[in-house]
C-alpha cells in the first residue's frame, strides 16, 4: 500500500494489518472490545456512531474522503468525480433508518455469532467494506476485512473515522492486507481460523479458488458471492428521457463492473419506444463520457467489449433490410459507449464498460418473464416507473416492486440509483445461518 500520509506527513489512518503478530494483538483487543460492546452498547448507540462516521465522509473537505477518492481513482482508473459520486452513494446510505432495518433483518435471521467474520472483497466497486462493517458491528461481531488490492483505502480509512466517535467499535474492525497472488499463508491461515464466517466476493473463478484455498483452515460457514446480473425496466408510461438520464449513470458508474450494473434495459411497449430510449440513452452516455471519461479495462475485457460492439453493429446492419426497426446500434465517438437495441430481451451479462442492450417487451408480463428467467442470478432491477409520469420513483408502483422481487430481484430501485443500494441490501437478500463451531 502506498504511504497513508497527509501532506504534513502525519498518518491519516492506521494501515491494514499485514503480519501475524499484528493480527494476534488486534484480535485480542477486538475481542475485549466486543465483550464490552455486547454488554453495554445499544443498537442505537452503534448505529449512531456508524451514521456519524459516514456523515463525515459526505463532507467535501474530509481529508480521509479526499485521500480515498484519489487512491481509488489511481488504483482503478475510474474518473475521480465518478469515485466521489460513488463515495456519496456509499455513505449516504448509512443512515439511522437503514442501519435499523439492517439490525432488524440480521436479528430476525439470527445471523449473529460471537466471534469474527472475514470478508474478502472484490475490487470491482469501491466501498463494499462499509456495509460489511455495519452488519458485523450491529450484530456484535468483529469484522476482518480484506479489501481488494484495487481498493486499498476505504475500509481502513473508515475505521479511523469510526474511531472518532466510538474507539471500541473501531477496534472491532480489522482491515487486513495481503496479495492474493503472492499470499501470506501464516496471516491468511490465522484470519481464516479466527473467522466463524467467511464471505468471499469476486468473479466466479476467484471465489471458487479462494474457497478451495481457505477450506483447509476453516470450520466456519462460507458464503461465495460470484457473478450476478442486473437489469433495468422502463414501465409503460414512464418518461423515456428521464429514464435514460438515470440509467446512463447506472451503466457508466464503476464502468459496469458491479453486480448492480444493468446489462439489459427492458422497455414496455413497442419497438419505437425502445428506439426512443436507445437514442436518449446514447445522448446521456455521451454526456457521461464528457463528465467521466471511460476507464480502460484489461486487454481481455476490452476484447469482450469489442465483441459486443461488433455484434451489435453487425446485427443492426444485417437486419436492416427485413426488419429495419428491430435492431439498432449507437456507438459513441472512438467507441466510448455502445447502446444496442436488440430484439432479444434475454437478461445476460454483457461486457460492462458502458455497453448496454435495450429490448422492447410487449407488456408487463413479458418483462417479468424475461427478468424471472435470470433467476437465481438476478440482482438488481432499476425501474423507471409510470405513476404520475415520474420515472424515478419505483415506490410509486408497489405492485411492480413486488412482482420484481418475486421474479428474483434482490434490489428494486429507481433508475439512477442502482449503484446506491441501501446499507441493508444483500445480494442474496437474507442472512446466513450462524456458524456453530
Amino acid at each position: 500500500m502506498r504511504a497513508i500520509m497527509a501532506h504534513d506527513s502525519q498518518p491519516l489512518f492506521e494501515p491494514p494489518i499485514s503480519t501475524r503478530d499484528q493480527l494476534d494483538s488486534a484480535l485480542r483487543a477486538a475481542e475485549r472490545c466486543r465483550r464490552d460492546v455486547t454488554a453495554a452498547y445499544s443498537t442505537e448507540r452503534i448505529a449512531s456512531a456508524l451514521a456519524r462516521a459516514a456523515a463525515d465522509w459526505l463532507r467535501p473537505d474530509e481529508p480521509l474522503r479526499c485521500f480515498a477518492i484519489n487512491e481509488v481513482a489511481r488504483a482503478t482508473g475510474f474518473h475521480r468525480d465518478m469515485v466521489a459520486t460513488g463515495i456519496d452513494f456509499i455513505f449516504s446510505a448509512v443512515t439511522a433508518n437503514g442501519l435499523e432495518r439492517l439490525a432488524q433483518a440480521e436479528g430476525e435471521d439470527d445471523a449473529t455469532g460471537p466471534g469474527a467474520v472475514f470478508y474478502a472483497l472484490a475490487g470491482n466497486v469501491p466501498g463494499q467494506g462499509v456495509p460489511a462493517i455495519a452488519r458485523s458491528l450491529l450484530t456484535g461481531s468483529v469484522a476482518i476485512v480484506r479489501d481488494s488490492e484495487r481498493q486499498p483505502a476505504i475500509t481502513a480509512a473508515f475505521r479511523e473515522t469510526l474511531g472518532r466517535y466510538e474507539p471500541a467499535l473501531a477496534a472491532m474492525v480489522l482491515p487486513v492486507a495481503w496479495s492474493h497472488r503472492a499470499g501470506d499463508r501464516a496471516l491468511e491461515s490465522a484470519v481464516i481460523e479466527a473467522a466463524v464466517r467467511v464471505e468471499l466476493y469476486g468473479s466466479d473463478r476467484t471465489v471458487a479458488d479462494l474457497a478451495a484455498r481457505y477450506r483447509a483452515d476453516s470450520s466456519g460457514v462460507f458464503e461465495l458471492h460470484g457473478a450476478r446480473v442486473s437489469a433495468g425496466l422502463v414501465a409503460a408510461g414512464a418518461d423515456v428521457a428521464k429514464a435514460a438520464r438515470g440509467f446512463a449513470v447506472d451503466v457508466a458508474m464503476y464502468e459496469g463492473r458491479g453486480c448492480l450494473t444493468p446489462h439489459v434495459i427492458l422497455v414496455e411497449g413497442d419497438v419505437a419506444r425502445a428506439s426512443a430510449l436507445t437514442d436518449a440513452l446514447g445522448r446521456e452516455l455521451a454526456a457521461c463520457e464528457a463528465r467521466w471519461p471511460r476507464a480502460r479495462g484489461s486487454i481481455e475485457e476490452e476484447r469482450d467489449r469489442r465483441r459486443f460492439i461488433d455484434d451489435a453493429e453487425m446485427s443492426a446492419l444485417a437486419a436492416r433490410s427485413d426488419r429495419p426497426d428491430a435492431e439498432h446500434c449507437l456507438i459513441g465517438p472512438s467507441g466510448a459507449w455502445c447502446v444496442h437495441q436488440s430484439s432479444d430481451p434475454t437478461i445476460m451479462l454483457g461486457p460492462g464498460l458502458r455497453c448496454i442492450r435495450v429490448a422492447a417487451v410487449a407488456d408487463r408480463a413479458a418483462a417479468i418473464a424475461a427478468l424471472g428467467a435470470a433467476k437465481p442470478l438476478l440482482a438488481g432491477v432499476g425501474v423507471a416507473g409510470a405513476t404520475g409520469g415520474d420515472g424515478t420513483n419505483a415506490s410509486d408502483d408497489r405492485g411492480l416492486s413486488t412482482a420484481l422481487r418475486t421474479a428474483g430481484a434482490t434490489l428494486v430501485c429507481p433508475a439512477g440509483r442502482m449503484q446506491a443500494p441501501p446499507v441493508d441490501w444483500r445480494p442474496d437478500a437474507r442472512a446466513v445461518g450462524t456458524s456453530r463451531r
Binding site: 472484490a122 470491482n124 466497486v125 463494499q128 466476493y201 469476486g202 468473479s203 466466479d204 473463478r205 471465489v207 474457497a211 477450506r215 476453516s218 470450520s219 466456519g220 460457514v221 462460507f222 458464503e223 461465495l224 458471492h225 460470484g226 457473478a227 450476478r228 446480473v229 463492473r257 458491479g258 453486480c259 480502460r296 486487454i299 481481455e300 476490452e302 476484447r303 469482450d304 469489442r306 465483441r307 461488433d310 455484434d311 453493429e313 453487425m314 446485427s315 446492419l317 444485417a318 436492416r320 433490410s321 472512438s334 467507441g335 451479462l349 461486457p351 460492462g352 437465481p376 442470478l377 440482482a379 445480494p427 442474496d428 446466513v432 445461518g433 450462524t434 456458524s435 456453530r436 463451531r437
Partner: protein
Amino acid sequence: MTNLESRVLDFIREPGGEAELNELALTVFAHQYEQVPVYRRFCQRRGIEPAGVVRWEDIPALPADAFKHGLDAADRPHVFLSSGTTAGPEQRSRHAVESLAAYEASALAHFRAMVLADEPGPLATLVLGPTTISHPRSSLGRMFSWCADLCSNGDTLVAFDSDGRTDVAAAVTWLGEKSRESAPVLILAVTSALTAVFEALRDRHGPCRLPADSRIVDTGGRKGSAHALSPNGVLKAAWRWLHVPAYLCVNEYGMTEMFSQFYDDALESRASGRLSPRAKVGPPWVRTRIVDPATMEPVAPGTVGLLRHFDLANWESVSALQTLDLGREVGIGFELRGRAAGAEARGCSALVTEILDAGADGGA
C-alpha cells in the same frame, strides 16, 4: 474466371511489391464494396467510399464475426462453415464463394513456403483432422486435403471420422510402421487429435522414432472445448514421443472467414538460415496489423492487441477482417496470444452459499 480473380491469382503466383499490393487491394476493396451489401453499409456508416481510400491500411476492417450474420449470397456453390466450437453451433460463420482458385493457390503456395521450405520430397502423410470427404463444409478439411494431395508419396492415412473422432489406434499403428521405414512423415492434425495420439503413446505404446525430416503441422490449439496441449506442450511431446524436433513442428493459425493462413516460421527460418524468434507469418498477399481493442488504432510494436488482417485471397467476400484474436508483433510476424473465446462472467455477488462439510452443522 474474372479479370479480378486473374489478377489476384497472378499476385499469389508472383507476389509484387508494396505498391502493387496496394493497387490491387484498392481494386479488391472497390469490388467488395459493390458486391457485399453488409460491407457497403458498414463502410457507409463510417463515411468511407472506395474513391476516398488510397492506402490498403485505410480499408475498413469488417469484424470477422460478420460472417455469422449472413454476409454472402445464399446460392454460391462453395460454402464453408466454422465448427461453432467457440460460440456454439448456432453461431457458425459462413463463407461462400463462386471459385476456390484463390483459396487453393494461397493455401498451397504458403504451405509450400512454410512447411516444405527444405524441399523434403514426397512424404508419408497422416491426417488427424477433417478432410473434404469427412467434412465437406470445413475450410480446414479442404485445406488438409489439398496439402495431403500435394505432399503425399501415396501412403496416406486419414484417422479422423466425420463425427470428429480420432482413430488413435490406427494412427499409432501407422506411426509405428513408419518409424521402421525411411521416408519422412508429415502429420496434418488438429491439436486435440494430436494430443490424443501423444497421450496414447505416453500411456500405452511408448515413444516412436519417426524418420529424419518428419514434420508436424497442427492447428486449432486450445480453441474450443476439446482437450489439447499448449503450443509448448506440443513441441515437447513431439520430441518426446515422435522424435520430431521443435523446428519441424509448425503451428498453423487460420479461420473459416479467411482463405490465407499463417504458420510458425520455425522451419522456414531454419531452412533459410535466418535466426529469429518463433512467429506466425502470413503470405505476401496478406498484411496484418495489431490494433488496440479500445481505440482500434495500431498499437506500439510489441504491445498486445487485436489482429487485423487483409487477405487478397478473400477477394470474393471481404478482405479486411478485424478479428478478436490477440497477438503481438514478433520478428517478421506475430505471436498469437489468445483466440477469441467466451468472456468469463464477472460480478460481485452471485450467491452460491456453501456450508463447509467440516464442522458446520448449521445450514443456510
